[in-house]
Symmetry: C2
Subunit: 244 residues, 2 copies
DNA sequence: GTCTATAACACGATAGAC
DNA sequence: GTCTATCGTGTTATAGAC
């Protein structure tokens, strides 16, 4: 029953566990293509043949890595949504709650190198940069349920937007989050450098704070059907507030 | 004088030109690591040894590709900023103008496969997903000047934000743009699929429109020092407007 | 400038002993 | 379950003829 266990990894003994842990780091660090099974097995301290025995192939190992990393984050997101919805008792959630459930689990995890949250973000970006057909199923399976829940919640809390507009803005929000999180990586840190050190991309609370403030305002902005007259009024009002 | 020409490519004859054009496509399609010089030279219809003769190495070829793709986009961005600032005659630019200069060149170019704009976005995301030290210099050289101009303009137009907050929001805006643009790639298209076809990620005018509306609202949102009382008022006002 | 031929090495996967 | 040894194939880079 090897295939049944292929996505887990807690099961299957020490060798399999060490292999998965090493694969997380090497895939995240080198990318799927550049990562070699020799480097992974060497880092895990196991024989090179163990990958094929325990996982079947390099692709299957990659899928197991992704599954392992994404599952706890998305489970936590859904759990937070459940809690907030129970508190709300039928009323729409606040935007802050929805975005907190979406962002906080992955932002905080991403700053803890030990637990592999750092690796998850790198792998998500890698899959977006070089879409690989064999990853599509894992990606959908892991992220689609959360996306649906979030978008539905956003629609309830943003009645001035069409469902299409909510989808666009959900995607913008996700992009902003992934971008800023991935920027803290060793070898990149463009925001930290560009800002002359002003922006500390290692502080997850600060990132979440700035991110939610920006996205909440962006979500609340007028939709396409709001007239330009109204948008103009809001703009003037905002400028007046800012200056005074 | 090979090195002097290494970043250009218009110069240097037909073989070099064809090589660079093929390299743009193959690097974008396969990623730097997975792309092989055999595939590039084969697509260009030139001999495999030509890469080393004309560019010196695979890394140098990649740098030349990036240089060639990024330069026209950033030159156009700076040209737009110049025009808008001349029109404004010393007054701060509108947010719409600043973001138009930042987004429009790359969003529109990215939907034209022929001219390689599609390739530029993929390569930017690839470099972010797998930072490679030999790319840092090209990246800074190409993008830092634009980033500085944009952030300075934003600071003038957003007096209610600190410079640090402007940097954060600039990064969020960039991430939202790159994410949504990269999503239209063959093999990904998650937004299109998740939204049940509602969001057409192939329409650059629509993308720019939605993007600028979202980002403008996000930028105008209250900063960290704005009291929660004030933020609460704005939120209530927004909700009231939305419901009525 | 462009070619062929090849050096020197790394890869994923597997067969088969233990 | 874990090992060694190896197959077949791929890579970048270069040497040297034309």
């Amino acid at each position: 029953m090897r295939l049944k266990q292929a996505f887990d990894g807690e099961e299957g003994g020490e060798t399999k566990r060490r292999l998965l842990a090493a694969a997380i780091n090497v895939f995240a660090e080198q990318g799927y293509n550049a990562a070699t099974l020799r480097e992974i097995t060497s880092a895990a301290g196991v024989n090179i043949a163990a990958v094929n025995y325990h996982f079947g192939s390099k692709q299957a190992l990659m899928r197991a890595v992704f599954h392992r990393l994404a599952r706890p984050v998305n489970e936590l997101r859904l759990k937070l949504l459940d809690e907030y919805e129970e508190q709300a008792g039928g009323r729409p959630l606040s935007l802050e709650q929805i975005l907190d459930a979406l962002f906080r689990p992955i932002v905080f995890l991403s700053r803890e190198r030990k637990t592999g949250g750092f690796a998850l973000v790198r792998l998500i970006i890698q899959v977006r940069a070089l879409p690989q057909p064999f990853m599509n199923s894992v990606l959908s399976e892991q992220f689609d349920p959360v996306a649906s829940r979030i978008v539905d919640a956003l629609c309830r809390s943003l009645p001035h937007l069409t469902r299409e507009e909510v989808f666009w803005r959900y995607d913008f929000a996700l992009g902003a989050m992934l971008h800023v999180i991935s920027d803290a990586d060793r070898g990149l840190r463009r925001l930290h450098r560009l800002s002359g050190g002003l922006c500390d991309t290692d502080d997850p609370a600060r990132i979440t704070d700035e991110l939610i403030r920006f996205v909440v305002a962006g979500m609340r902005g007028p939709g396409q059907d709001q007239t330009s007259r109204k948008a103009g009024e809001e703009r003037d009002a905002a400028n007046t507030r800012a200056v005074t």
